[in-house]
Structures are given as C-alpha cells and as structure tokens.
C-alpha cells in the first residue's frame, strides 16, 4: 500500500492538469467539481506519502519556517498586488531542502495564508500550484539544471506564469460552456498583467535573495545536523 502510494505520487501530481484538459476535450458537464476532486486527491496522496516517510525535525523545522515566511510575505506585501515572494521561496526551498520540502512550503504557505486572506475554492489549486513549483525546482536542482543562473530565473518566470494559467484554467474549463478558445484567451488575457507582475516579482526576488539565502540556509542545515 505504502509502496503503491509512493509510486502514485508523480502520476497523481502530473495527472491534475491532464485531467483538466481531458475534461475540456470531452466537454464533461461537472468539470468544476471533478477537477477539484482530482486536485484534492493529488494533494492527499502527497501528504500521506510525506507522513509515512516520518519526517525528521531537521526536515520539518526549515519547511515550516519557510512556509510561514512565504505566508507572512504574502501578507506583508499585500499592498502591492501580485508582488509576492511565495513563488521564489518555494523554488528556494525545493533547491536547498529537496522537492518534497519545496512542495510542502508551497502547500503550507497557500493553506495558511488563506486562513488570513479567506479560504475559497482556489485554496487547493494554490496549494497544488505552489507545491508543484517547489517540487519541480527540487527535481531540476537534483539534476543540476540550476547551475546556470539563467535557467533558474527562467524557471522562476515561467512557473509564475504557469501558476496564473493553472488557476485560470479551472475557471475557464469549469465555468465556460461550451468551451471555446476565444473565451479562454479572453480570461487569460484579462489576468495577463497580474501574472506578468507576479513573474517579474519572482525573478526580482530570486535575483536578490537566492544566492545569499542559499548560503544562510546551508548554515542552518549544518547546525541542524549537529
């Protein structure tokens, strides 16, 4: 069972956008609720895996602090719309502490900050989207992709855009029937300026904090292992 869940982790996480697109393709009537269910299942599979792996304190603490920092950053930067450090922090967590930590930081930040901003049907989507950004960053870092800073900034830029697209897609596919490309483009176009700010903010944060924070976090990592 545990093994099975472990095997399922990546398919489930990748499956979310696939299901969303399939729903659009086959014009499923209940897309809104169905895709929400799928994203919840994917989150659950990840969380169960995280739980069964029995995380140690040195894994839990930095994850919690970075998650809380991202959530607090979202609140502290709230006056500037969409200028938020969450995405950059998820990437950093994924790179320094591994993909699972990256996912957890994103999911925690989304869930907890929404307790302050207001929960909504978007909560699971935000948890998933930010989680995936951290997860992906962790996977790419494991493969040594981020040795070139340009790749890192590119990843930051694209992931922020992808975040916006994913959140819009649920609205478009779930609430527009029959699905048409013009409608979808209008929805994406309307949110493009916001997504662009988000992407620029993410790159700006990565530019300024990535290198020094990595050094600071490595020091903390060492202190935890003592």
């Amino acid at each position: 069972m545990k093994q099975l869940l472990k095997q399922l982790e990546i398919p489930a996480l990748v499956g979310v956008p696939v299901v969303l697109l399939l729903c659009a393709f086959f014009r499923v009537a209940q897309t809104a609720v169905l895709s929400l269910g799928i994203v919840l299942v994917a989150l659950l599979i990840f969380f169960v895996n995280y739980e069964t792996a029995k995380p140690a304190l040195r894994q839990i603490m930095p994850t919690v602090v970075l998650g809380a920092l991202a959530a607090a950053g979202r609140i502290l930067f709230a006056p500037i719309p969409n200028f938020k450090p969450v995405t950059a922090l998820c990437i950093l967590a994924g790179v320094v502490f591994g993909r699972r930590a990256g996912f957890m930081v994103g999911a925690l930040a989304a869930l907890v900050s929404n307790f302050f901003f207001g929960q909504g049907p978007w909560t699971p989507w935000q948890m998933y989207a930010w989680g995936m950004i951290g997860y992906g960053a962790g996977m790419l870092a494991e493969r040594g992709w981020f040795k070139h800073p340009v790749v890192l900034y590119g990843y930051g830029f694209l992931s922020a855009i992808a975040y916006g697209v994913l959140l819009n897609t649920w609205h478009v596919i779930g609430f527009v029937k029959p699905f048409t490309w013009q409608g979808a483009l209008l929805a994406y176009g309307a949110s493009l300026p916001f997504d662009a700010i988000h992407a620029v903010a993410t790159v700006a944060f990565l530019l300024v904090i990535f290198a020094p924070w990595r050094k600071k976090l490595e020091r903390i990592k060492k202190k935890y292992e003592l």
Binding site: P212, K215, K216, R219, L226
Partner: protein
C-alpha cells in the same frame, strides 16, 4: 534518594579547552537549587548535559545520574517524562498555535491516551489557573503568560526534575515575580526538584534552598546570602559625600578619574539647567495616541521635554505605553494628536528590544559594513569601533553565534557608526548579566560625554539609577513626573531601584571615582543622605566572585571628559 548526582564530570567542545573539569554535585529530591556564574562559564552546557537529547556534541567524561539512572542510558521517552527543560525565550519554545495544543504537544509525543491527556491537562491548567486561556491563540498572550504556558506544557509530562535556563531573563519584573511564584509552588507543593541557571539570583534567593557557582571551570557551592543585597544602602546623593569613602579621593592615582566623575555630576545639574532654559532636544505636548480607532488611548495628554546631551530614562509598568512613546519619538508611529518636536530626527538611531531585528549579514564585520557606503565611515573607524566594543575577536563570527551581550553591543556599534545625535534604546539591558550591563552603561556614559542625547525605555530601575540624568514615569497614558536623578527616586517609597549585582559592580567600579557605596546594616537608617558607612565593597569580594568574575575591559575607560568623539569611535 538523590534527584541529581553529577560525579567528576568534564566537558569540552570539539577542539577546545575543557569548559569545566571534574565537576561534582548532589541534589536531594525536592531541592530548589540555583546555578550561577558569568556568561559563557558553561551554565547552559551543564544543564543541557543533564538532558541527553539536548546534550551538546563534545568530549565528556564522568557520570550524571538522575534519580539513580545514568542520563545517557535513558530513552527519549524516559528522559522526556522524567526531566523537564525550560529555556530563556518563551516565544521560541512554543510550538503550536493554541494553548490547548501546546499543552497537549508533549503528551502526544509520549503517546499518552486520550483520557489520560485530558486529565493531566485539566489538572495542570487548574494548577496554573490558565483555564480561561485554553482556547486562546498563543499570539494573543503576554510574555509572562507565554512563559507560564511553556512551564505548564512541561509539567503535564509530570517530570521529577525541572531544569530552567534563564527562565525569567526576558520577563518584566511583575511577570518575573509571578513566574517565580509558580516555580516556588511547583517545588514546595509538588515536591519537584528544580535547578535554575541564572545571572539574576537575587530575585530567586528567597525561593531557593541552595546555590552553586561555576568559577574557573569548577563548580562550588555558595551561600545564598551572597545574593542578599538588602543590607546595602547606596547613598543616592553620593557626589557631595566623598569623605564617607574610606579609600579617599585625593589619592593621586585617582585624580584624573575623579575629575571626570565630578564632571559627570556637574553635567546632571547642567542638563537640568538647560532644560529650564528650554534648550530641549525633544518636546512632546498633548500627545494622544491609539493604535486603531477601536482601541483605548495608549497615551492621553502626554507632555515631556528632554534636554539635549542627557541620558533620559522612561519608566513605567507593562502596557503603560513606554515603547509606544519611543516609537512615536522615532517617527515609526504617526502621532495621533498633539505635538512631537524632535530636533534631532535627522540624526537619530533606534536600538530595538531584540538586536536581531537589525542583523542581516553573515558576520559581525559585514554587519558593521552594511551602512558604510551611505554613511561614509572609514575602515579604520570600523576596526576601532570593533576594538572599542570588545568585538575584534568576533569579527568573523556570525552575529547569531554571539552571546546576548555581544549582540547588543554589535547592534549598538552598528548604530553608532551612523553618528547619531539622538540614540533611542528599547530595553537595552533585557536578558543581560551584570558584566554586560556595566559595559553598556559605560558606552552610554561616554556617548553622553560627547554630546549624544540618549533616551532609554526600561524596566530596569537599578540601571536607571546608575546611568540616567533624568527620568520620566509613565502612568495612565501620561507623564506622571519628570525629574532629575537622584531626586526622582528619593521620594518614591514603592517604586525604587533594588540593589542588584549590576548596581554593586557598577558602584564598585565607580567608587574610586566618586559615588560611595555605603553598606549599612539593615537596622540602620536608610535615609538617602545619612547612610552610615560600615565598610564599603571590599568586604563583599566573595559575592563578587560569585556572580561576576573579573571584568577585563573597563577600569581604564571610565567616562572622562578627555575622551573626544574621535577617540571614541
């Protein structure tokens, strides 16, 4: 049975000299013991060595037994349920978001059953009378309540031995008393053995049974009477009474200091004179302030004038608006109503309560460089500042790896490099031991001597009595009185400085300079001007060794008028 037996214990950090050698200690069950010693002597290390999960890595030999069990063979479960450990900062020990969850945390770890958890939590909550807080989020608690919750969350695990590391250092005097009272009840009513490491033993003296001191890598029992300073009477108006001092002021080798100190006395008078001439650095009139429209006024009709070039203390109870006032002066808060005139606002600096709020770099040296470009000070001055603050040896260390006192000095150094004319200090002595306080006091006096105006907000009345020129007491949102020292305290009966280790050290250090330390018997008159002197501090050298060992820095650096700004920084 002995609660704690330490036999021939030696410990050294990797690649360092032993912190202490062949330390032995026996505590009976039900004892309340104090562990004292200056900062860095290994109090914390010794306490942590008793609890194996917290034991620092290093070379150790010898045996530590708790209730007859070798602590190193205890399982985590046994250790957690037998030995409780409380650290300095309640803020950093609280794990969960609500009080009930915090109390349950330890029990959940131990796998205690549902019914048993309920019973234990109910019991402890009733004992501490925190039932009404059970569902509160921890962020809504005061500092004292947080530390009480921390203590309660350890007691639910029913430990037989309680280790506390500076548990009251971050608390204000009232919260400190409440906490100590709770500790006293735990010890006397429940029979739990208590060991407290502290640098402020005088407040705990009445509760303790015995005390031990770490000096020169040894652990020695010392008498609790060493912390009893109640028979010291300081002559608050010591300036005019030099003839009381046995050592005499006319000795040639004290001449220069004497001169400097006389200058100090004159300055105080001058500061007041300046005030009356309306030469004020700061004036606040009719200041009203509240945080939001739904909250009551924090300040309501506050008037205060502060002379330039003086050290002005703002004191008052918790929640009387001291920090609010400081933030208003600094311009962090926008004033609600009234007039805040700050002539020095173009060259001010604020030292926050926690110096960590100022640190952003990876070493002490880089920290001092952060504002170098903006302020344009030279490398030489930076190095001189490091030297002056005794931080040269720590320049490459991470700011967070410094001790509390060193962090405070580093933050102060960072601010002073910006050449402020107005220095605002929020609780600058919180959590510091007597040595560190003396160092801070000296820095402040020499700054004042080069014309810096200093405003400090504090609970520490003995620090105020030793350092400040004038003081304001806040009450009910208003400045109840503003007076020069020592008159300020002379008329108070309840609210006056208590003699503590810092005051002793400071007065002793200053004694050859000017202020006499007059130790009198408890029975003799305590009048401020008539204090009979029955032998000054030399007689107390034993206690001196007990709570504050020799200080390396200061004696030569007594504030003298000959120190110029250039020399200083």
């Amino acid at each position: 049975m002995n609660a704690l037996t330490i036999s021939d214990f030696t410990f050294s950090y990797p690649e360092k000299d032993p912190l202490f050698t062949d330390v032995s200690l026996t505590l009976e069950e039900g004892s309340f013991a104090l562990l004292v010693g200056r900062t860095g002597c290994g109090k914390t290390t010794l306490l942590r060595a008793i609890k194996s999960e917290l034991a620092p890595a290093g070379n150790r030999c010898g045996l530590i037994e708790v209730f007859g069990r070798n602590t190193f063979t205890l399982t985590t479960y046994e250790s957690a349920s037998m030995i409780g450990h409380v650290a300095q900062s309640a803020e950093n020990q609280i794990v969960c978001d609500s009080v009930w969850h915090e109390l349950a945390f330890g029990l959940e770890n131990l796998g205690v059953s549902q019914a048993e958890m309920r019973r234990r939590i109910a019991e402890v909550a009733s004992f501490f009378d925190i039932e009404s807080l059970m569902h509160a989020p921890v962020t809504s608690l005061s500092g004292g309540q947080k530390q009480a919750v921390t203590l309660a969350s350890i007691l639910v695990m029913q430990p037989k031995l309680l280790l506390l590391d500076e548990p009251t250092a971050q608390l204000d005097p009232v919260a400190e008393k409440n906490f100590l009272h709770a500790l006293f009840r735990i010890n006397r009513e429940l029979g739990i053995t208590v060991v407290v490491a502290t640098h402020a033993p005088e407040t705990m003296r009445a509760y303790a049974h015995e005390a031990f001191c770490i000096t020169d890598k040894r652990l020695e029992p010392i008498s609790l009477d060493e912390f009893d300073f109640s028979d010291f009477v300081f002559d608050e108006q010591g300036h005019g009474e030099r003839n009381h001092d046995e050592r005499g002021y006319d000795e040639p080798n004290h001449g220069e200091r004497n001169h400097g100190e006389r200058n100090h006395g004159e300055r105080k008078k001058k500061a007041l004179a300046e005030l009356s001439e309306n030469n004020t650095a700061l004036s606040l009139h009719d200041v009203f302030f509240r945080y939001t429209a739904h909250e009551p006024w924090v300040l309501r009709g506050l008037d205060v004038d502060i002379a330039s070039g003086s050290i002005h203390a703002i004191i008052g109870a918790n929640g009387s608006g001291k920090s609010t006032l400081l933030h208003l002066i600094a311009g962090i808060l926008k004033r609600g109503r009234g007039q805040v005139k700050n002539k020095l606002s173009a060259a001010q600096a604020l030292l926050p309560q926690n110096p960590k709020a100022l640190f952003v770099c990876d070493s002490a040296y880089e920290e001092l460089q952060e504002w170098q470009k903006r302020c344009g000070y030279t490398e030489a001055r930076l190095a001189a500042t490091l030297e002056r603050f005794g931080l040269s040896a720590h320049a490459d260390q991470h700011p967070y790896d410094l001790s509390g006192g060193q962090q405070q000095k580093l933050a102060l150094a960072k601010l002073l490099l910006t050449n402020p004319d107005l220095l605002l200090l929020d609780e600058p002595t919180k959590g510091l031991d007597a040595t560190a306080k003396c160092e801070i006091a000296e820095i402040l006096l020499s700054l004042r001597d080069v014309g810096t105006t200093i405003i400090l907000v504090t609970h520490d009345l003995s620090f105020v009595a030793c350092v400040a020129d004038s003081a304001t007491m806040l009450f009910d949102g208003q400045a109840t009185c503003t007076e020069a020292l020592p008159d300020f305290f002379a008329q108070n009966i309840f609210y006056r400085p208590r003699v503590d280790a810092f005051m002793l050290r400071w007065r002793e250090h200053q004694a050859p300079l000017n202020k006499g330390v007059h130790a009198a018997n408890r029975s003799t008159t305590t009048g401020a001007t008539t204090g009979a002197t029955t032998g000054a501090t030399p007689g107390k050298s034993a206690s001196e060794g007990a709570h504050a060992a020799n200080r390396s820095t200061t004696t030569g650096n007594a504030p003298t008028s000959s120190i110029s700004a250039g020399d200083f920084l």
